[in-house]
């Protein structure tokens, strides 16, 4: 730090670095590892194949991750409770099957068919939550039973036809629609302005309440970084087909659930139940109500992910929702930095984690690497993420004494 710098700024930087070091040492690593990991993965793939970071491929990547990202958003909420939902793959498949059958066989218009598919997931999630809370069966057993049963229901709903091709353009547009770059720039501008106004209003409210201000440097850095990412992503997407509707839907869910989890009493209570359920109960929080609601959200998001996946592939069949959907959705949440132990994490980890997994799948496909290597690498990344989580937890416990 040179003497020439204004002392206030130097002080701010030093304080910022100090608090960062403290946070890392005490195990509060947040989304730092996943972002470093993502940069590393992108660098490696770009080195191996110069097409990896091309606008076309990155645009494909954003569309490829939307279904996993949406499912993972629900998983994050379940993990925040310290629970798990193993049924999301089957609910993904059943939700998409219900939509496809209503649309293709029964001729329903797109909107009610999609709504029916998604609400199927809501009903299933509520059912899981009810069994989990009413009979105190561990959530992984309830949802493991769900994994089997709802896959059976999916086969039953699809019937003998097996594969249903979706011809309704409104459904296909969910994953297939791109907005012109101009729309993207306008949206990016609106997002950045709203973010700036929000940061400014919060600073002013703190000042009005006579509270010590949050570090200005931190706010400015946050604003600059987010604005750079938003405009950078828009520029990349503008270089190809424009902004995919699917990405906007995913981001809409994430921003919505981020606000719900961090700024509403309901979200605060999710964290409380995940942190210390007994304390939450004594504070008068309806612990079971929160649990049922979160499982309902998880089921809803799983079915919504299924609808998105069906739209991308123009079809639903026996294998929709099977394979690695479930494991990728859980892995994405954990890789993104949401703790398996409950009470810690952010909805954004669904996006960052899905980006990591999507990048690995996409990059290895570009390199024509077969599935064997892909699964091993994804498994290794998941293990690394869980290890970071576990080590961070030990760090917290040490720091907590």
């Amino acid at each position: 730090m040179s003497e020439a710098q204004p002392p206030a700024a130097a002080e701010g930087i030093r304080a910022g670095l100090g608090s960062l070091r403290r946070r890392v040492a005490s195990g509060d690593v947040g989304s730092l590892p996943v972002i470093l990991g993502l940069v590393l993965i992108w660098a490696v793939f770009q080195y191996l194949n110069p097409n990896f970071l091309s606008p076309r491929n990155l645009t494909n990547l954003t569309v490829q991750i939307t279904d996993i990202g949406i499912v993972s958003t629900g998983i994050v909420l379940v993990l925040l409770l310290g629970e798990i939902d193993l049924s999301v793959g089957s609910v993904y498949g059943l939700g998409s099957a219900v939509m496809a059958v209503l649309s293709v066989k029964n001729g329903w218009p797109a909107a009610p068919a999609i709504a029916a598919g998604v609400l199927t997931g809501t009903a299933i999630g509520t059912f899981h939550g009810f069994f989990f809370t009413r009979f105190r069966i561990p959530s992984f057993v309830v949802t493991l039973a769900g994994l089997l049963a709802w896959f059976g229901a999916q086969l039953h709903v699809l019937g003998e036809t097996g594969t249903l091709n979706i011809y309704d353009p409104s459904i296909d547009q969910l994953a297939g629609r791109f907005f012109a770059p101009t729309v993207g720039w306008v949206l990016a501008g609106v997002v950045v302005v709203v973010l700036g106004v929000d940061l400014f209003i919060r600073r002013r409210r703190r000042a009005a309440a006579g509270l010590p201000p949050i570090g200005l440097l931190g706010d400015v850095a946050k604003f600059v970084v987010i604005a750079a990412v938003v405009f950078g992503a828009t520029a990349v997407l503008a270089g190809d087909r424009g902004v995919p509707l699917a990405l906007l839907i995913l981001l809409g869910f994430i921003v919505g659930f981020d606000i719900i989890t961090t700024r509403t009493p309901f979200g605060r209570h999710i964290f409380a139940v995940g942190g210390n359920a007994e304390a939450a109960r004594r504070a008068g929080i309806s612990v079971n109500g929160i649990r049922i609601a979160v499982f309902a959200v998880s089921g809803t998001m799983a079915a919504a992910g299924g609808v998105m996946g069906a739209s991308r592939l123009f079809a639903v069949n026996y294998s929709s929702g099977t394979g690695d959907i479930l494991l990728n959705a859980i892995a994405a949440a954990v890789i993104g930095g949401t703790s398996l132990f409950g009470g810690r994490g952010t909805v954004w980890s669904a996006l960052t984690g899905a980006l990591v997994i999507g990048s690995i799948n996409n990059g290895l496909a570009l390199l024509s690497v077969a599935a064997d290597i892909k699964y091993m690498i994804t498994g290794g990344v998941l293990l690394a993420a869980v290890t970071i989580d576990a080590v961070a937890r030990q760090g917290r416990q040490r720091a907590g004494v």
């Binding site: 606000i259 509403t264 605060r268 409380a272 210390n276 939450a280 907590g400």
Partner: protein, 265 residues
């Protein structure tokens, strides 16, 4: 009232008790946990409840907290006979219990813990109004002279004494008139014990009734105005701190006689 005038001490004790238990009995099957126990705490008074293991201390505070319903006996609050049928009734009267496990969420910050289950929201969006909550949280922490560097840091990073203070501050925040502390210093070091005892004295200064359960007679003698001893489910002694010795209290706890240190009543 009669007892207060009989003791003829400070004017504070002339007032009616904040909380009075009369003739409380509670049995669990064949075990008589409490037999005809009286108990009273005045505003601005620290009462220590002491006794050996199994003497009925926990049962008695759970009666006050509304967790146990006594088989017989009456609960009076501010001179009124009040029905206490459950924890909600007790909480509504302003009786707050801070148990040993503190019931804090480690992953949430101090402000969130103070407001847990009672978050303030701003209309029309119904989002949490963090600034209002943080302002009041800081006020309450300051009024109790609780030193926490940043009320926005997670509770997990606080010392045992600070955690205890946060749990106590939560009860003060929600207008408790009586705070019951169950072994508040059991797991604390010397310095942190001192912090918590100072906090107990500040609660008294603010006019609250404080009931402290403790095994540590040295701590009890530091903060308590009166010491009530339970032995085998009965009240076996009441001591004014200023006029009593540790030996006499130990005598009442164990049942041994100590000549001139005979318990009052």
């Amino acid at each position: 009232m009669r007892r207060a005038r009989f003791r003829g001490e400070s004017s504070q004790l002339e007032r009616q008790p904040l909380l009075q238990l009369r003739g409380i009995s509670k049995a669990f099957g064949a075990v008589q946990a409490l037999s005809n126990v009286d108990f009273e705490v005045y505003p601005g008074e620290v009462v220590a409840l002491v006794g050996d293991n199994g003497a009925g201390k926990s049962t008695l505070i759970k009666v006050m907290a509304g967790i146990y319903i006594p088989d017989s006996g009456e609960i009076w609050f501010e001179g009124r006979h009040v029905p206490v049928h459950g924890p909600r009734d007790s909480a509504a009267l302003g009786i707050a219990t801070v148990y040993q496990d503190l019931a804090l969420c480690d992953n949430l910050d101090v402000v969130a813990n103070l407001y847990l289950g009672r978050e303030e929201v701003a209309r029309p969006a119904l989002l949490i109004s963090e600034e209002r909550m943080e302002f009041r949280a800081r006020e309450v922490l300051k009024s109790l002279d609780v030193k926490i560097p940043n009320p926005r840091s997670p509770v997990a990073g606080l010392s045992g004494g600070q955690r205890q203070s946060v749990a106590v501050a939560r009860s003060v925040m929600w207008k408790a008139k009586i705070v019951i502390l169950d072994e508040p210093t059991a797991a604390l070091g010397v310095q942190q014990t001192k912090q918590v005892l100072e906090l107990v004295l500040r609660l008294r200064t603010q006019g609250l009734g404080v009931i402290v359960i403790s095994h540590n007679l040295a701590n009890v003698f530091e903060v308590a105005d009166r010491i009530i001893v339970l032995r085998l489910g009965r009240r076996s002694g009441t001591f004014n701190r200023a006029e009593s010795s540790e030996e006499s209290v130990v005598g009442a706890i164990t049942g041994a006689e100590f000549g001139k240190f005979k318990p009052q009543e």
